[in-house]
């Protein structure tokens, strides 16, 4: 008989984001699970949408990759058509309309973060097609753990270092306390002028090493 292979790769996931003084910081873990087996230990959950917009995703990995690629392409065309830097609200609305059409069957829970001409924004999009604009947020199975860190430490107008630490710690909380999340913290810091994708920003736990959490 053997082990029944669960084909559907889901990302258990902890993703989080917040707005700070100069822009946004969004982060994600790197574990993708199929049932209770870790399928991918270093999965990239921070998706490129535009130079100034990135999206973190929780849900079914295939759905997320497809939706993120599709929105990225549409945003590129849209910005070429309008001749303007793309807006986070546009990306979120495109995602929302697509996901509402499929009534939640496309399992993609996204956090769009970016800086555009209207300022810095974090927008959460649900698989059912609900969007909400937040100052800090988290999604995925580790969202409660991450949210507890974010709620406690978030303040308006944070400095860059502190903002990065808060998001990293909140993803770390998810990685350590949620079985669906694990691996390394990936961060993306987006400001008006620059976007920095910090892959493997912090290793939360390694094999054979005792952590101090």
């Amino acid at each position: 008989m053997g082990l029944k292979h669960k084909p559907n790769v889901k990302t258990g996931t902890t993703i989080a984001g917040l707005i700070y003084k100069d822009g946004v910081v969004i982060g994600a873990d790197t574990r993708a699970t199929g049932g209770s087996i870790v399928q991918v230990k270093d999965c990239d959950k921070v998706h490129y949408i535009a130079d100034n917009i990135y999206a973190c995703g929780a849900g079914t990995a295939a759905d997320l990759h497809q939706v993120a690629n599709m929105i990225s392409a549409q945003i590129r065309l849209h910005s070429l058509n309008t001749g303007r830097k793309p807006k986070v609200a546009t990306a979120a609305t495109m995602a929302r309309r697509h996901l509402f059409k499929y009534q939640g069957y496309i399992s993609a829970y996204l956090i769009f973060g970016g800086c555009d001409d209207d300022g810095s924004h974090i927008v959460c999009v649900d698989a059912n097609g609900f969007t909400r604009v937040e100052k800090f947020t988290s999604q995925g199975s580790g969202s409660l753990a991450a949210l507890s860190v974010l709620s406690t430490r978030f303040k308006l107008n944070l400095e860059r270092e502190e903002a990065m630490n808060i998001v990293t710690d909140s993803i770390a909380a998810g990685i350590l306390n949620d079985m669906g999340s694990g691996g390394i913290v990936n961060l993306c810091v987006i400001t008006r002028d620059k976007t920095q994708y910090l892959k493997h920003h912090r290793v939360v736990s390694s094999k054979g090493v005792m952590g101090d959490y």
Binding site: A62, Q74, N128, L144
Partner: protein, 235 residues
């Protein structure tokens, strides 16, 4: 290219197994408004009130700062409850159609028209939507009006309408405390009390009290937060 979203005709059906994820995780259940929404009509205008909490699966609070009183037009606002995604989609279509009607008829749209558009939409898609609306506003033809559109798409005009999960806890209060002929301040106090009482008994309602006071001259948005929320017996 993004397409104009003016109809819900492409609600997909027949995609049963697009993703195999059958598990109804807490974190992956639809976000819905627990909600208390209420609207009261008085001589010169309408007061709408709502809480600001949305929940996921009756256990997880999704956000505590949601705007449930959406602006359809300058003097027409709509409170929504039910599944958030459906509410947002429905509001978008109603706003669009109402705006178009205003342009075609070259005058400010009437509250009755807004309510009719809403109820027609909700009725046509009654099998797929899970959202109920309360539309309140003022227009120069009929003055202040409140329309309730529960799930299913029925439209009815009432002097005071309440909706959402929290409304069940305050029907007694509404029946005993509502009097026709209240002043604007009395209505605002009445609405705030209603939302506060519902918030304290309904786990799905919470956050702050959002109010909109609509009359001939303005639509004034207000918030009651923290200590400003009316206090009652906490037993």
């Amino acid at each position: 290219m993004p397409t104009e979203f003016t109809s819900l005709d492409d609600l997909s059906i027949g995609l049963n197994e697009l993703s195999e994820s059958g598990e109804k995780d807490l974190f992956y259940s639809p976000v819905s408004d627990g909600t208390t929404i209420i609207a009261v009509q008085y001589d010169q205008g309408v007061i709408l009130g709502a809480d600001s909490q949305t929940s996921r699966g009756r256990q997880l609070v999704s956000t505590k700062t949601r705007f449930k009183l959406a602006r359809l037009h300058e003097r027409i606002f709509c409170g929504t409850s039910g599944r958030c995604a459906d509410s947002k989609a429905v509001l978008e279509v109603i706003k669009n159609r109402l705006h178009l009607k205003g342009i075609i008829e070259d005058s400010a749209p009437r509250v009755r028209v807004a309510a009719h558009i809403a109820s027609k939409l909700c009725y046509e898609h009654r099998n797929n939507l899970e959202t109920s609306l309360i539309i309140g506003g003022w227009d120069p033809v009929e003055g202040p009006q409140v329309y309730a559109i529960p799930i299913g798409g029925m439209m009815t005009q009432l002097p005071v309408a309440a909706g959402g999960s929290g409304s069940t806890y305050i029907y007694g209060y509404i029946d005993s405390m509502y009097k026709p002929g209240m002043s604007r301040e009395e209505c605002i106090r009445f609405v705030s009390n209603c939302v506060s009482l519902a918030m304290s008994r309904d786990s799905g309602s919470g956050g702050v009290i959002r109010l909109v006071a609509i009359d001939k001259d303005e639509a004034n948005r207000m918030v009651l937060a923290g200590d400003e929320i009316p206090k009652f017996y906490q037993g």
